[in-house]
């Protein structure tokens, strides 16, 4: 498989430099780290938001750095959680004294590494709080659910809350509210290729798709013979809606997220069915976003995220953001 890269060992380093070279007025890289932060970090008087995880999910996470979203993003190797020292650097560079919220996706590695960073921060009297995103309903046990595309809603809404001057506790609470109201499920049509090995990250037969797959190729709910976009949309929605606990008056935000190699044409074909099913079922859609937000390199497929909104969440979702991957 051909890739537009140089040395696979240098890929993260070069990507980070490339991101900064593309937005030199907006982000900077902390020297000798894999941490990107807002150019103006630490932002005086504001709670900072940090996210991160393994690389390969671009534009997550660095694309969400900006006014109204993240203050910093920490990148690990491809699909590998970053180490505590890196996260700690991000914390130190973004804390303005108001404390730092760590947005963590629920993977053992991320949870442990961010937690160790929080311990390091505590030892230097920097206040941190954590939220753990677990929106992927492909996993039964709610405690074990993985964090996937719903993370973007957490960045957006908690980021807007922080920008509005809320305290660390309040930002954390709002982030937790988003997490409690967000559910996602995805599907893979073909695997991504790991840059180091040049091998596919997992196996899918030519006529197979995998429902509920994770963003690192972790097993999903089941492999199926190929289905149409409408069938997939129906299946995902039918699993998501019972989890949403929607009252008649509730409005939701919808995110149709491409996994990397699926053309936007197809994401829109998929979105058409999602929206018509929601309309049929009488679910009110307040806002829809279609695009590549939490990818798995060049995996083909998509995920569908639903977020139940209230007045606070609506206002924060609509608030301005300068983050390149989620401008509002």
């Amino acid at each position: 498989m051909k890739k537009l890269i140089n040395d696979p060992e240098q890929i993260i380093d070069e990507m980070l430099d490339g991101i900064v070279a593309g937005s030199p007025d907006d982000v900077r890289r902390l020297e000798d780290t894999t941490v990107l932060v807002r150019k103006d970090a630490p932002v005086e008087g504001k709670v900072a938001l940090i996210s991160g995880g393994g690389s390969g999910h671009e534009p997550a996470h660095a694309g969400y750095i900006g006014k109204g979203m993240l203050d910093g993003a920490v990148s690990g190797e491809v699909f590998t959680s970053p180490t505590p020292d890196q996260v700690f650097e991000a914390i130190k560079a973004t804390d303005s004294g108001q404390g730092v919220l760590l947005v963590i996706k629920n993977y053992s590695g991320d949870v442990m590494n961010f937690d160790m960073a929080a311990e390091l921060a505590e030892s230097e009297d920097i206040k941190t709080a954590q939220v753990i995103v677990r929106d992927d309903i492909a996993v039964d046990d709610p405690e074990s659910r993985r964090g996937v595309a719903g993370t973007i809603f957490v960045h957006k809404i908690a980021g807007a809350k922080a920008e509005a001057g809320a305290s660390l506790e309040d930002v954390q609470q709002t982030a937790q509210k988003v997490i409690d109201n967000t559910r996602t499920m995805g599907v893979a049509l073909s695997p991504c290729i790991m840059p180091t090995s040049g091998e596919p990250g997992f196996e899918l037969a030519d006529d197979e798709i995998e429902l509920g797959i994770g963003i690192h190729g972790e097993a999903g709910i089941e492999k199926r013979k190929h289905m149409t976009a409408d069938e997939i949309a129906t299946e995902l929605l039918e699993r998501l809606l019972p989890e949403m606990d929607l009252a008649d008056s509730d409005e939701i935000a919808v995110m149709v997220n491409g996994m990397g190699a699926t053309p936007e044409m197809e994401l829109n074909v998929f979105n058409r069915k999602v929206q018509s099913l929601l309309a049929e079922k009488g679910v009110k859609v307040y806002d829809t976003t279609v695009g590549n937000f939490m990818t798995s390199l060049e995996m083909a497929g998509c995920s569908l995220t639903l977020l139940k909104l209230d007045d606070e969440l609506k206002e924060l979702l609509d608030a301005p953001s300068s983050a390149p991957a989620f401008k509002k």
């Binding site: 393994g54 690990g76 190797e77 491809v78 699909f79 590998t80 959680s81 970053p82 180490t83 505590p84 020292d85 890196q86 993977y107 053992s108 590695g109 442990m112 590494n113 160790m116 492909a138 996993v139 074990s144 993985r146 790991m194 180091t196 090995s197 091998e199 990250g201 997992f202 994770g214 690192h216 190729g217 972790e218 097993a219």
Partner: protein, 203 residues
């Protein structure tokens, strides 16, 4: 004395060689029930460990402390904090002491405790814990025996094949995780096997 500074360094360098040799195998195991990076993670981190051990060290504890901080900052993923914690706890448990069989058992006990706490994990969940725990049981039985250490670790590693994962990425594969070895258990087996070899030769 069981091991001194030199043997410890040798152990870790040999472990690094083993990891770089088995990198693809470990990643392949992880591909079956995880995300396919365990070999890469471990090989990357322990190469740095090996490179960092050419300095002078006062005692075994310092070597292990250095190893712990390197592992924590270079391995990443789930195995980084877990192995990092293990080495840190081992370092603390032998601080100011010569490492004899008894101290070594205390070191492994501390390490296992650290892994379980950090990973919120228990025995039987198809993780590296399922190698460290039987090894500790064996060490507690008394006399140190390099061959038995190796054999115990190997059997323990083999036993993870039939377990169902409930922790880490392998847990998403549920029943599908059965029939596959746990990659972290295999890398832990290598760790003890290399130690056994170093001690066995030294004896």
């Amino acid at each position: 004395m069981l091991i001194g500074v030199e043997e410890t360094i040798q152990w870790l360098k040999n472990y690094n060689d083993k990891l770089s040799e088995q990198k693809d195998y470990l990643s392949q195991l992880d591909r079956a029930i995880g995300d396919g990076d365990h070999g890469i993670n471990m090989a990357r981190g322990f190469q740095q460990v090996a490179d960092s051990l050419d300095d002078d060290f006062d005692d075994v504890s310092t070597v292990l402390k250095k190893t712990a901080t390197t592992v924590m900052s270079k391995v990443g993923g789930a195995s980084g904090p877990l192995y990092g914690t293990a080495f840190l706890k081992m370092s603390m448990a032998c601080k100011g002491k010569e490492v004899d069989a008894g101290v070594f058992a205390e070191m492994v006990e501390a390490a296992l405790g650290g892994i379980k706490q950090r990973g919120k994990s228990e025995e039987g969940e198809k993780t590296m814990v399922d190698v460290w725990s039987p090894v500790l049981d064996m060490l507690r039985e008394g006399e140190f025996d390099a061959e038995r250490l190796k054999k115990t670790a190997e059997d323990a590693m083999q036993n993870t094949e039939d377990m169902t994962a409930t922790k880490g990425r392998a847990s998403y594969f549920k029943e599908r995780s059965q029939g596959n070895l746990d990659p972290g258990a295999v890398s832990s087996y290598y760790l003890f096997a290399e130690l056994a070899d170093v001690i066995g030769k030294g004896a």
